[in-house]
């Protein structure tokens, strides 16, 4: 099970969405689809049509910058970061 860590800006938008979620997925794309099944609409908050990642959503798999097609290992840690500068 991959360990997803979600940004604090995302969780208030969905009922009972925790900051950490464990999902069984082979890729980041599949992990997001699993989230979408449980919290409909969450994909749109992370991805644009395509889907492609939104420009200011950064993903890291085991501390390496990742994309939707990045594979996940059994115990991968996935950090989803809302990344933008400014006040």
């Amino acid at each position: 099970m991959a360990d997803l860590r979600l940004p604090m800006t995302l969780t208030p938008l969905f009922s009972d969405l925790p900051r950490r979620v464990e999902v069984d997925a082979a890729t980041v794309r599949e992990a997001i689809e699993k989230l979408e099944e449980r919290w409909p609409g969450v994909r749109d908050r992370l991805c644009e049509p395509g889907p492609t990642l939104r420009p200011h959503i950064h993903l890291y798999v085991d501390q390496q910058r990742a994309g939707l097609d990045t594979p996940l290992a059994q115990r991968s840690r996935v950090d989803v970061v809302a990344a933008i500068s400014g006040g």
């Binding site: 940004p7 800006t9 995302l10 208030p12 938008l13 609409g41 749109d44 908050r45 992370l46 644009e48 049509p49 395509g50 889907p51 939104r54 200011h56 959503i57 809302a82 990344a83 933008i84 400014g86």
Partner: protein
Amino acid sequence: MLLLVGTRKGFFLVEADDRRGNWKLRGPLCESWPVYHAVFDPLSGTIYAACASDWHGAAVWRSGDLGETWTLSSEGLAYGAEDARKVSKLSTLALIDGRVLAGAEAPGIFESRDGGESWSLLTTLAGQPGCEEWDDPANQPPGHLGVSAIMPDGEDTSHFWAIVQGVGLFETSDGGATWAPRNRGLRADWPRPHEEVGFCVHRLVRSPADPRRMYQQNHVGVHRSDDGGHSWTEITDGLPSEFGFAAAVHPHDADSFYVIPLDPGHARCMPDGQAAVWRTRDGGESWRRLDRGLPQRHAHLGVLRGAMAIDRRDVPGVYFGTSTGQLFASADEGESWSEIASYLPPVWSVEVAVIE
């Protein structure tokens, strides 16, 4: 009386008693998302807020209990995976007979027929002169609003107007299937490749007392139409600046109209650090400066295109919010003003609603 205030960092509700006093502020709501515009639907009792988060994209928030609880949706608010255009923000909302319309950047209008749960593309104003330029993703710089305003007819549900920022005003009489430019007589101080478009309409208002009478604050000048937008006459003379964003028309007198002139340069603030609203009582023949109660020293205030509103009382109240977070109200048609909220985030929109 309820003011709906969209800001760069969330949505605020400002409630008054029946005498338009004792204002109480609630917010920030909508998780402090940037809120470009919000409207209240008296038919359903729903507040809709058009938003765009830098992180999580564009969506419409809605509340059926006057802001106590909120949900958001962007289902259908997209041009499609194969389309180079993206919905970078939702700039404006309009209510037409139970439907909700949302103006977007890249320019387009989306429609919801289920109270904001889902959306579908209504129009991109395809085929209008200049659309190939405004549809080019390279021409979507940050800050552009796309369809910056939608103005319903109020009677005919298939009849409304839309502003495409930096392009001009358009009218549809068939629910958005076809459009016609309505910019004849407007001024532009820049080259325009197309005769009928290339005008910078900041704010459009239409008189409830005379539907043929419209006004607009343009990038260059204030303009009046006496024929429902088919032709325009400039009425800038007498104002301290041709530039401004906000505008409001009196609900009962078609000749009474308000603007907030701004320095057209980098500042885009009220001239000389002295805050004022300007009003005409004769359709733009003459103007009067209204500043009682407004700050007159070091008041470098800007007011954006959606940030002034007027209510429909017999003696209407006028309201505006500033880019530095002040909210001012007048209960006497602009004769005198008071500051009813301070220290808000930059105000992008103000609408007024009467809750029965």
